[in-house]
Amino acid sequence: MKKNEMQEMNGGKLIKMPKGQKKTSVKKDNPWLNNWLFLAPCLLTLALCAGWPLLKTIYFSFTDAALDSLNDFEFIGIDNFINLARDQDWWIAVKNTFVITVVAVPLETILGMMIALILHKNFKGRGWMRAIVLVPWTIPTIVSARMWAWMLNDVYGIVNELLIRVGIIDSPIPWIASNTLSIVSIILVDVWKTTPYMALLLLAGLQSLPQDCFEAAEVDSIPFRKVLMKIILPLMKPTIIVAMVFRGLETFKIFDLVYILSSGNSATATMSVFARKHLVDYADVGFGSAAATALLFFIAFLSIFYISFNRKKLNKLS
């Protein structure tokens, strides 16, 4: 199994069937029917829990549906979208989402790369290190949000206390109460939570690089900085870009952390929070769906980028 996985990482080959040749020699099987029979439950599930709700949401965004009257609504064209474009809170949410993504993802990439390089090295206790690094990823988002909310508490929080003790600040900082700082806190916690995942992705990329490059560099006693800049980073570029886009997509949807770590006002909301607030709290399904659809458009734009990068991998699969 292990060996196979490695082969997989190095882009193992797949059975290639010449076109027109029958799949198996067993006559009883009808390959076409069998393939789709095997796929049917999965496709049905996807259609039921992704396809239908998605289409319905887009449909709702052109109506004035309310939460308590989901069957009784009128078609109002693009009014919701016009209102959305005029809504200042929406643009604040868009800005917040962009700021969080643009700051958090590069930070995660840099720190993740650092951790990946550490884990790639062969040293005593590497297994332990790997387990420790995984811990933030394991902790449920809500739990980490609450843990950090406690640590960042302006009066009793340990973070302020430590910063004061070290002498970096004189008086406690309102990490969560202040609008600007709560964005900083959200970024901080998001980076803490997702860097491990980034590190794992980059580590997988590192391990699939031709290892003799590193050996050759070591034999020639080339300083590590040069190896990093001239060998590792150029070779890792595709992996890094894909991982960053992937993380960017995830960060764009950020909800849980913001829900807990900001005081719930519109100054710190992200697009997801905004959409849900209108959808559920204000029971305005039409307008909320319009916001969700707008978010979908942003994501779709990024997704096309992401999927086109993954195409290479898909071709490997096929």
Partner: protein
């Protein structure tokens, strides 16, 4: 000559020390919040406000209160049930679907993988109102079934990719040998592939379990009563007698209880989880 050797040794020692230092800093950053939650959870009453970095108090008062709290216990059970059901259903659906995707070439195969990839990028809010309506129609609002149904959108695409990758890694000779022995597709799948894929299935199932255990947005929206809530929701809505008095000791105790099973699982299955996480996701 000797001097040069000493210098070299010294340099190497310094390098190792620096590396160990970096490792320690990284480990401290990763572990400190959880450590602090554990320490805080053992401080009762006003001791919670102590900023002593070392565990100075050892009181089980918070844990006792949490265990007496019926709502919390109920949500713990809900989370466990929903996550387990989601993991099993996801695996059942994806194991079969991954087989033709990994082993056969047929028109539409690429498209299925693309669709699955597309679904992973869907924001949860984008399906929220549609899903809400579906749940109303099926009359499962405020029930576990609603959560399992909605969680499938998160777990299925990911599991499908991971399982396809794992199944692809089985050498074709094994399949050919089975065909030579007269096995048909179903026998190959049930008697050959599934047993080989046992460990990989555990890994992906575990990942699906963790994803379902941690999910928040759907759980928050599709449940209404305390009896139906999952752990993340009840943790998020945990508040004290008054609005200004947040019972941080209790929250920390509950947080530790929720996280501990996951941390234990991840430490045990560390290697498998890493391979599962990376085999199905992005790689250049």
């Amino acid at each position: 000559m000797i001097k040069a050797e000493n210098k070299w040794k010294y340099k190497r020692l310094l390098k190792n020390a620096a590396f160990a230092g970096v490792c320690l800093v990284v480990a401290a950053c990763c572990l400190f919040p959880f450590y602090w939650a554990v320490v805080s959870s053992f401080r009762d009453g006003a001791n919670i406000f102590s900023t002593d970095l070392w565990p100075t108090h050892l009181s089980f008062e918070n844990y006792k209160t949490v265990f007496k709290d019926k709502t919390f216990l109920c949500s713990f059970w809900n989370s466990a049930a929903v996550a387990t059901m989601t993991a099993f259903l996801t695996l059942a659906v994806c194991l079969f679907a991954a087989y033709p995707l990994a082993r056969h070439r047929f028109p539409g195969r690429k498209r299925v993988l693309m669709i699955a990839l597309g679904v992973t990028t869907l924001p949860q809010v984008a399906v929220l109102s549609g899903m809400f309506e579906l749940i109303r129609v099926l009359d499962i609002y405020n029930e576990k079934a609603a959560l399992v149904l909605s969680y499938m959108i998160i777990t299925v695409p990911f599991t499908l990719w991971t399982m396809t990758n794992f199944m692809k890694s089985i050498p074709k000779e094994i399949e050919e040998a089975a065909i030579m022995d007269g096995a048909n597709q179903r026998t190959i799948l049930m008697k050959v592939f599934f047993p080989i894929l046992g460990p990989a299935t555990v890994t992906t199932g575990l990942l699906a379990f963790i994803a379902a255990w941690n999910e928040f947005l759907f759980a928050l929206t599709f449940t209404l009563t305390n009896q139906a809530r999952t752990v993340p929701v009840s943790l998020a809505l945990f508040s004290g007698a008054s609005q200004h008095e947040v019972p941080y000791g209790l929250i920390m105790a509950a947080s530790v209880l929720v996280t501990l099973p996951l941390v234990v699982l991840v430490v045990i299955f560390q290697r498998r989880i890493i391979s599962g996480l990376t085999v199905g996701s992005v790689k250049g």
